[in-house]
Symmetry: C2
Subunit: 341 residues, 2 copies
Amino acid sequence: MRVALDAMGGDFAPAPIVAGACEAVADLPELTVCLVGDQAQIEAELAKAPAAPRDRLPIVHASQVIGMEDKPVEALRKKRDNSISKCWGLMASGQVDAVVSAGNTGAMVASALFNAKMFLPGVRRPGIAAIFPSHQGPIVIIDVGANMNAKAEDLYQYGIMGSIYAEEILGVPEARIGLLNVGTEDEKGNELTKSTFETYQSSPWASRFVGNVEGRDIYNGDVRVVICDGFVGNVLLKAGEGAVEFLFSQLKTELARLLPELPGDAGQKIIAGLKDLKSRFEYEEFGGAPLLGIRGACIICHGASGSRAIKNALRVAEKMASERLRDRIVEQLGGAAPLST
Amino acid sequence: MRVALDAMGGDFAPAPIVAGACEAVADLPELTVCLVGDQAQIEAELAKAPAAPRDRLPIVHASQVIGMEDKPVEALRKKRDNSISKCWGLMASGQVDAVVSAGNTGAMVASALFNAKMFLPGVRRPGIAAIFPSHQGPIVIIDVGANMNAKAEDLYQYGIMGSIYAEEILGVPEARIGLLNVGTEDEKGNELTKSTFETYQSSPWASRFVGNVEGRDIYNGDVRVVICDGFVGNVLLKAGEGAVEFLFSQLKTELARLLPELPGDAGQKIIAGLKDLKSRFEYEEFGGAPLLGIRGACIICHGASGSRAIKNALRVAEKMASERLRDRIVEQLGGAAPLST
């Protein structure tokens, strides 16, 4: 299995990106990671990991980098030799089975959407799935930013792709689908939610569709796939991130006030416990957000990803590319025979 | 100052609602609270507070109750003698200056929107403002559920009303306005955000408008007013609530694991500290969400409101009704001379 990794993408690239690749190939004997980016910088990082199996860490040079703040479409046009486009180029030509990047999300998505030949047969628009925690394990929220003007048919497809992803990759059997809405009654919401509701009810997936769910229900885990348009999903994702950060900062202040009163190493234990808890709310464990509906696998990592997140993203990308995910999506949406892999 | 309080609205009504009213009139000597609902039940609750000044706690009987799960429009039509409609009736006839309810939000909003004569001059659609915490103090998010099909002009008005509310009620000078979006670049988002952005830039309020803000920026407090359509705002509000609940439940589990190892009363101190922190994330402090753009004051409380939340809502409602809030909104939106109060 070969994965193209954007070595230049991320707030702290290339150091934690290359380090994550080294860790991943050490753990996963079938994995080859093509490190895409500035050859000299990548070599310098690889030199820090002399034990890494270099034969499974080839470098593909790209002379340009799309920055985290660059405007995606403009940057893709002006910087033709950028590492993100090069990753997708390797995928389009069949040299890799997956693409992973912690770089500019807009550029990652735009690169994929520009080339409709990359879409799986029958897929209207690929969608980004975020993996959230819940009381019953990980849940899929789709779309969190690929599609700002979604139609009911897009949301319908997101639910199916998300449900198949939950089954194949997260191990959730018969993952049920909920439509994110402002109330649970059938007739709630805006034009998009009303027509998505109707689309599901008269579809072969009606039995998997539980109807409307509210924001506060997400964390119950009663549905393992929550569908919404990319604008709402993106706001939800980022606001959730902001809320968790804010809450932990307040918690830190509160504990700092209490800690001097605590005897012995009690304070240290609590701080260690909190750090562990916080990491569970971060992207590290699931590696990042899969882009669903394309021919290969793709994981979009958080800009702040450390080596552990990158390693996990590579692990998930390998799983996404090798499992039955693609065939099942095509079977449901393409109306055609499964692709041979 | 007279406020109509829906004594029957809320998950635990009427007990905490009547108790909150008793506490409020004890604290605020100018306040009269009309308790609207089932006379016998209200009398029974008042009997538990013999010291309460009954002359400032008149009862207005209503024989019907709209339940939390009732469909708003249908319930308003079928239950003509319900407590929510009666509260609005008292406001429409000038017998009270404000309405407060912890009952069915949809019915509260629909009652207000049904009667365009209740709108302040120049206001296109009233909006619900939620008060969120931030690193720099309370912020206003508007709209969180009154308007599912908002236009750019609606969002423009929400920003102005929210900014005036932040100044007059929350004490934030020159509260700046941000447009909730999926990125901070000017051209980001969907049709609504793009046209709202343009509306602001060519408006007298351009200097207060900072442009697009992302979900994760909300908690910085750099802008004190965040505008969005009612669908997005409602999802944001409820998902935030769900995330905080989920996080605290995880925290509780984590601490339960650590507590046996802590000596003395350290564990108790931490639990007390956490409870205090959690309450700051709840609606109690600000009492509830003001409905902005109507002739009187209106506070919509959380269904789970306890007596403290109701008391605070009554305090805020008194402030909203008596201060310059209304005049300033009309001055900005009505294009007419301020209403005499």
